[in-house]
């Protein structure tokens, strides 16, 4: 297994050989994910390229490094981006096959900030107790309180509700007190 350093250095130096390796090693998994989630092969290619470009931009502009594995980063970022694109209901602009896709600089930049925000949320979320994580996950997935009561064994919906509020308060508190979050605030 190739190390993070190999990929990071290759991206830094715009090394085509390393990019080919990145496609070989990580693209099939992303392709599978996109195909399983209402996407086409072209969508997967588009998302993959955007994520790689955004990754390079973060490295070059923000001196960003990753704490996870490169593979983990790429896959999660692709997943997040594809979810966002799906939810934006944006129609893919079909361009001439010979033309390079030109990405909108603002859109790409906002997308990076969205990814950064997601990373802060995820990091804070992981700091919660297992029980909080479990109940919040269900809550965010819009599980009905009656189901949460049954699955997690709470005595009543009121208790489950209180638990959700407490966990959510803790999470938002942690997010708000992170200095990185301040830079990502909406206007």
């Amino acid at each position: 297994m190739k190390k993070n350093e190999y990929f990071l250095k290759g991206i830094q130096n715009t090394d085509k050989k390393v990019f080919i390796d990145i496609y070989k090693m990580f693209f099939p998994k992303v392709l599978k994910f996109v195909l399983n989630n209402k996407g086409q092969k072209e969508d997967a290619e588009d998302v993959f390229q955007k994520v790689l470009l955004q990754f390079s931009a973060r490295m070059k502009v923000k001196e960003f490094t990753i704490s996870s594995t490169f593979e983990g980063y790429i896959f999660t970022a692709c997943k997040n981006l594809w979810r966002r694109e799906l939810n934006k209901n944006k129609k893919r602009v079909t361009t001439d096959k010979d033309l390079e896709p030109i990405y909108d600089a603002t859109e790409m930049s906002v997308s990076i900030l969205e990814q950064e925000r997601w990373e802060i949320y995820k990091e804070k979320f992981e700091l919660l107790s297992d029980n909080c994580k479990e109940v919040l996950k269900m809550f965010f997935e819009k599980t009905a309180y009656s189901t949460i009561v049954k699955l997690l064994g709470y005595s009543s919906e009121t208790v489950a509700r209180q638990r959700v509020f407490k966990c959510k308060a803790k999470l938002t508190e942690m997010i708000k007190s992170d200095s990185r979050y301040k830079g990502l605030q909406t206007i």
Binding site: I20, L52, E100, K122
Partner: protein, 270 residues
Amino acid sequence: MSFSEEIYIKIEQYLANEMTEKDRLSFEKEIANDAILAEEIEINKQLQQDFGETPSWVSLQVDKDETKELESFFESDEAAILQQVMLEAQEAYKDEKEVPVFSLRKIAPYAIAASIALFIGVFSLTRKDTAEGLYANYSGWKELPSLTSRAVDENKLLTQGEVYFLDKQYVEALKKFESYTTLEKNYVPVVSLYKGISYMEIGAYPKAMKEFDTLINSKLLDSSKGYWYKTLLLLKQGNKKKAIQVLHIITSNSDNYNYFEAQKILKELQ
């Protein structure tokens, strides 16, 4: 600072769109007067988007200052080159994937077919080797005239670019050359050559081709050099057939750059 349970219930109902019109309006008034409550709602909304299912995504609205640096990166030549290299990598990946793979277990019944395939494989390999070998022979770039003091170069972009070029740091070199071309309106054939070769070296073939074609079409004194480098580009891509076509153009006029070399290569390829 946390809120009362009552407020949390309201937040939840508000975000789920479960409030009556009257309650919603009064709650919105509350939000407008309470920055902390507004922030809480915003985070809740975002959490819902990031972790849950949302029918429609609301893009992050950001302060322009936050994205200024990123945006200028995406608009830079560096990003354009990067994107080009990535596209090339994607194509190379696709090409590689399309090569059929033989499973050992299945080979036996198809021994004959397999050996034919192997023969073709070896054959095309040698053919590719010739093309690539030729490219290697001619890609020392020693013949290129130095860029120093050849053209107006107030910002020393060409000098810096050439240093990178000689050091084989083609991406860095391209950044300088592209900036030069943006600033300098007049077409300078030799800069085009350096650019084309740099693109060729990093594998950005369409961009390289564009530079060489521009040179050819410029009809300037050096334009026949365009044919020569186009030949090298085609050889590097293993496109023997097209390379031969271009070589024929070179050998059709003895004034053309590298006329004799072109004749030599033609013999080797045919």
